[in-house]
């Protein structure tokens, strides 16, 4: 006669124990499959347990009123020959696995016996499964026999771990994920990793080195725009004594102003950049310091009470300086539009001579090439040129604290025949004060 035990099941997704409330059978009774054996009370409710066996009750293993852990045998039933004794018993492998997990958790919490789910228990159910060689409480504590690291393993070198949005980002930015160094958990490629790779790629995008020319020397005829540029530079550099001055400024408010303008419906469809603010600042500063906007003629100084604002532009034909006529009479929106048009025309190589004639003062936007500042040469016939450097986040001291601010350098060269150091300094200081606080433009 075979005998089987019925271990207390987890009747409710993670219960760990139950009280035996009332036995409905006693030793010697004949029971059938699914006959109610006992009423138990769990943390959730009163539950009746049906018999998993058919046979004769050989013993009740737990008394009424006792609370036992899930997995504890509560009743023994022996087959009476009439029925095949089905012995489902709880699957040992499964029980053991859950108990092992529970033990690991318990050990980690230094609370032996505490289980989270299933049949975990420190007593009966748990001892069935094979143990780690040293029989240590937690598998992690068996270093000699446990070759794999306890953390999530880093993926094999061949694998790429990245979430779908990151893969899409990489595709959009043209980044090959195989070339990205991951910094995420378990070797996952993060958004920052992809962006860093993309920005490095852009920094080095021109790094391909061309072959040396096949001829030892190459002779390029001096003509056209190149000749005109040369003539102008020499004329300017060797007739007008240049003086250059610089100042570093916090342009954070300018950047915020640009951002607001970009979001403004009034500026929809037109390009807004820090150059626009600089142009507007320059027009304002010229009114306060008129002599920077003038021409030297040996006999007299011609002070212009208008601004034909030149913008130095790199074009397919070389450096050109077209200007915005009567820029002082334009609204901010109109100025933005004029600057954009001027830039586009120059970039297309379609700038007409008339557009380059009659300039009174010039801005060169070397920041667009990532340069901080420089000592520009004055456009001939003018008295000043302003260089707008790159605007980058840098450490900046504000009220005794180092803060990240958008910092730039404003530089300018002056014809020292016309402009003395004090005027030049006031002019640059005016520009700087507008870039630091664009609200001054409201003046």
């Amino acid at each position: 006669m075979a005998t089987s035990d019925f271990p207390l099941p987890d009747v409710g997704e993670g219960l760990t124990e139950a009280e035996i409330v009332h036995w409905k059978v006693k030793a010697g009774d004949t029971v059938t499959v699914n006959q109610i054996l006992v009423e138990i009370e769990t943390a959730k409710s009163l539950v009746e347990l049906p018999s998993p066996f058919a046979g004769t009750v050989s013993a009740l293993l737990v008394e009424e009123g006792q609370t036992v852990e899930v997995g504890t045998p509560i009743i023994s039933v022996s087959s009476n020959g009439e029925f095949e004794l089905t012995a489902p018993a709880v699957d040992e492998e499964m029980t053991g696995a859950i108990a092992d997990t529970a033990r690991t958790v318990a050990a980690a919490e230094e609370k032996p016996g505490a289980v989270l789910v299933g049949y975990g228990s420190s007593g009966h159910g748990g001892s069935r499964r094979r143990r780690p060689a040293e029989a240590a409480p937690a598998p992690a504590a068996t270093p000699t026999k446990t070759p794999p690291p306890s953390s999530v393993p880093a993926a094999a070198a061949s694998s790429i771990i990245a979430k779908p949005p990151i893969r899409k980002l990489a595709k959009d930015l043209g980044v090959d994920l195989a070339t990205v160094s991951p910094t995420g958990l378990a070797g996952e490629i993060t958004r920052d990793d992809v962006i860093r790779q993309a920005s490095q790629a852009s920094v080095f995008r021109n790094i391909q080195t061309p072959e040396w020319g096949t001829e030892r020397e190459e002779r390029i005829p001096v003509k056209g725009v190149r000749k005109a540029i040369a003539t102008a530079m020499v004329q300017s550099a060797f007739s007008a004594p240049h003086v250059s001055i610089f100042t570093d400024i916090d342009a954070t408010r300018t950047m915020e102003f640009v951002k607001r303008l970009k979001n403004s419906p009034d500026f929809a469809g037109v390009r807004v950049s820090p150059l626009l603010i600089m142009a507007k600042a320059l027009i304002w500063a010229v009114r306060r310091n008129p002599t920077v906007n003038s021409s030297w003629t040996d006999k007299e100084i011609v002070v212009h009470h208008y601004v034909n604002l030149g913008i130095a532009a790199a074009t397919p034909r070389g450096l050109l300086v077209p200007n915005v006529k009567d820029a002082q009479s334009l609204s901010l929106r109109e100025l933005a539009s004029a600057l954009e048009q001027l830039t586009l025309t120059a970039r297309d190589g379609k700038t007409q001579p008339a557009e380059m004639a009659g300039g009174t003062i010039t801005i060169t936007n070397i920041g667009s090439y990532g340069m901080d500042t420089g000592t520009p040469i004055i456009n001939p016939g003018e008295a000043a040129i302003v260089a707008l450097g790159s605007i980058k986040q840098k450490p900046w001291v504000v009220d005794g604290q180092v803060l990240p601010r958008f910092v730039t350098t404003v530089g300018a060269s002056f014809d020292h025949r016309i402009v003395d150091g004090d005027v030049a300094s006031r002019f640059v200081a005016d520009l700087a004060s507008v870039l630091e606080e664009p609200a001054l433009l409201l003046d």
Binding site: V11, N34, E48, P50, S51, P52, R130, P147
Partner: protein, 372 residues
């Protein structure tokens, strides 16, 4: 909450056909049913109830992590389940055991899922378009709506040949109507006029929250605000479930857009084996719905048509046989190898899965073979 004036009922709780203005539209569907089909309705209801009880017992015996009973809802499911044609797609919630069986899913597949050794494990393509159970409440309404949009884009609906037209039916409960997913599905279904029927089994309980707290208005009115016609039926009346679902699926297949059916039924058991309905349920309710039991009334109806004891005994035996077979196969299930968990995470081989599998194997190998 019980039946309303709007409830379509073809078979009264006493087991006789109801003739009324409301039923006149649907009775022709019933008249076309053969005796064999009517017997099949009964057979499926009885057999699945027996299976349901066996599965609940197996859970109490420690064989399943969880069981989700369908006790009391057999008529709503069997009637609508037979109304769907073989090429229609069925998106169940997780309680539609009998529809799974009707569509050819081996009941042991459901057992495996609730034992915790599979995530479903049947292929809808090989099981007459019966899709996987969805445990997340109401999500299947979106899956179904998306699928119905696909059918539409493929030109498989309103083809002019009613026998070839396809539609989708999706099942959910009253609790799901409180989920955003179901409302979103209504929006898309209405916008695209998808070929689908939303079949709500209002079993009156979202676990322990009564439907009266979830909706101030009868739920069949809910869809009309989205522009989807709704109808309320007696969900314990297998004939009403069959006829009304047939009519609405015909409309959906024919290109008339989505439809909504609220089947009033009652969850006679617990939400799952993890809760205790005696703590929140009123005895009067249980009493009312016991008298409205779907199987009892249909048995009375069949007997009135001349069906004899032999048939009912045969059906009872078939139920016992299924229960016994399921018990035997459940006890033989054992546990799948741990490596199985890595198999279907990705459709293709995946290096991360390979490395995790290797890690687990190494970990397992660090144990010596058994102290006992």
């Amino acid at each position: 909450m019980s039946y309303t004036a709007a409830t379509v009922q073809l078979l009264s709780p006493e087991g006789s056909l109801v003739t009324s203005d409301a039923s006149a539209e649907y009775l022709p569907y019933v008249e076309k049913l053969s005796d064999e089909q009517l017997r099949e309705f009964h057979r499926q209801m009885v057999v699945i109830r027996r299976f349901d009880i066996e599965a609940a017992n197996l859970q109490r015996q420690g064989q399943l992590a969880l069981w989700i009973p369908s006790l009391g809802q057999e008529a709503a499911q069997v009637g609508s389940g037979f109304a769907a044609r073989p090429h229609d797609h069925i998106f169940p919630a997780y309680r539609e055991h009998v529809i799974a069986r009707i569509r050819g899913v081996d009941p042991i597949k459901i057992i495996e899922m609730l034992r915790g050794i599979s995530h479903g494990g049947w292929d809808p393509a090989e099981n007459n378009n019966f899709h996987l159970y969805t445990l997340v409440i109401g999500s299947q309404a979106l899956h179904a709506t998306g699928y119905a949009m696909g059918i539409q884009l493929d030109g498989l609906t309103a083809t002019g040949n009613p026998d070839a037209d396809e539609a989708v039916i999706v099942y959910f409960g009253d609790g799901a109507t409180s989920q955003g997913d179901v409302s979103e599905a209504f929006v898309f279904a209405a916008s695209y006029q998808t070929p689908q029927v939303f079949f709500l089994q209002n079993n009156h309980w979202a676990i322990s929250v009564p439907v009266s707290r979830q909706s101030r208005t009868p739920l069949y009115l809910r869809s009309s605000g989205f522009g989807i016609p709704g109808v309320q039926i007696d969900g314990n009346d297998v004939l009403a479930s069959y006829a009304v679902t047939s009519a609405n699926l015909d409309a959906a297949r024919g290109g008339e857009g989505p439809r909504f059916i609220e089947a009033l039924t009652y969850r006679m058991g617990a939400h799952t084996t993890s809760d205790d309905p005696t703590k929140y349920r009123d005895a009067d309710d249980l009493d009312f719905w016991s008298h409205a039991d779907p199987i009892t009334r249909f048995e009375t109806y069949l007997r009135s048509r001349g069906e004899g004891d032999a048939f009912f005994a045969e059906v009872a035996t078939e139920g016992d046989d299924l229960a016994s077979d399921v018990r035997k196969r459940t006890l033989e299930l054992g546990s799948p190898p741990a490596s199985k968990m890595f198999e279907h995470v990705y459709s293709d081989p995946h290096p991360l899965m390979d490395s995790q599998r290797a890690w687990l194997e190494g970990y397992e190998a660090a144990f010596e073979g058994g102290e006992e």
